[in-house]
């Protein structure tokens, strides 16, 4: 009711302007506050992501990397970054998982054999697909299967020899697709 009486006193132009400027003021203040928070958190988040990538490279490529390769041939369009070291390549691949992208680091030696894999980030189901990334016994066992593999890698359901994670065949398949793409890319690089 209070609004209706105030509306009678105000002209329509004034009333519309008041609504507009109130909302503008609120959104401006919120935007300014967000900018301030972002300025604080952005460098920290960036550093954390960098750290994660570095850790993943170290896990999959013994001896680390010395250069980043910009020109690489990738038929599957899944490889996003290639790091070259003394023992082979570390490749960042992004296959589509059960629920969004799985960002993985795959280490491949110069002969096209997998050195190791590590999941950088994912949004798979907790307790099922998430096992692929978990630092648990089951997770290590699943990722360990890829070491030494070459060529096209498949889960046992598709005729390959990777034991899929129980209840997470789609996630397991996605990991295989990612690793295969990395191997193919490494072979093309020689």
């Amino acid at each position: 009711m209070a609004n209706q009486t105030s509306r009678k006193k105000e002209s329509t132009v004034k009333y519309v302007l008041r609504l507009t400027f109130t909302l503008l003021l609120i959104t401006s203040v919120v935007a300014a506050a967000l900018a301030a928070v972002n300025a604080v958190t952005e460098p920290i988040i960036k550093q954390l992501n960098e750290q994660k990538t570095q850790q993943a490279i170290e896990t999959v490529l013994p001896g680390g990397y010395s250069e980043t390769i910009e020109n690489f041939d990738d038929q599957n369009g899944l490889v996003t970054k290639v790091y070259k070291g003394a023992n082979g390549y570390a490749m960042e691949v992004r296959p589509a998982g059960f629920d969004g992208e799985i960002v993985m680091m795959v280490g491949v030696d110069f002969e096209g054999k997998v050195l190791g894999i590590s999941v950088v980030s994912h949004t798979e189901t907790a307790g099922l697909g998430a096992v692929a990334a978990a630092k648990t016994e089951a997770g290590n066992a699943f990722r360990g299967q890829f070491t030494g593999k070459s060529g096209e890698i498949l889960v046992n359901k598709d005729g390959g020899d990777i034991d899929a994670i129980t209840g997470a065949t789609i996630t397991s398949r996605a990991v295989c697709v990612g690793v295969s793409a990395a191997v193919a890319c490494a072979v093309s690089l020689g």
């Binding site: 609004n3 008041r18 609504l19 109130t22 909302l23 609120i26 959104t27 919120v30 506050a33 967000l34 928070v37 972002n38 604080v40 958190t41 920290i44 988040i45 954390l48 980030s121 949004t123 189901t125 907790a126 307790g127 099922l128 978990a134 630092k135 648990t136 089951a138 129980t166 209840g167």
Partner: protein
Amino acid sequence: MNFKKQFKEGLLTKNPVTVQLLGMCSTLAITTSLFNGLGMGAAVTIILICSNVLISALRKVIPSQIRIAAYITIIAGFVTVVDLFLQAFIPDLAESLGVFIPLIVVNCIVLGRAEAFASKNGVLASAVDGLCQGIGYTVALTIVCVIRELLGSGTFGGGLLNGGEGIRLIPAEYPAMQMVMPVGGFLVLGFVIAGSQWLMQHLEKKNKKKEAAK
């Protein structure tokens, strides 16, 4: 202001999850481990208190015609702040909850309390309301989490205790993994709602008996 009444309402008689049935999306999706439940509960509670306080403080300034737009802007602001802080300082939790942190913006509990309570009550009462509703949400979420985790993964305190693996109560080959999938969420939530209804009726009967005895 009646703290005891607000607390009882938030926890049981007007519990956002089991009675108001708000915020079902996050309730069903993330309740697979204790860590997720407590983390989501804490995030929502903080956002509820902040947005309730600010909306209550601005309730006489915001014209009612644009109130929903204004509330959502304020809520989205707080949610983004919490999201950024989580990503920067508790990255494990941010990764575990994923998209459900930004989705708190459209969680009806927050907007619901802004509309139903904060826009009509004082700052202090609104803060208490945010706290009580937040606790109610957290408790309901945690109960669902514990049951689903136990039946689905066979552990307790996943992501939190025992170096992230949780304490194993049921050997790994027995748990029904359907319980951590959506179907388990619906099942467990249904039973939790039934349980809270039973508890409310039970308490009511007790009160009536007491009054009759007087």
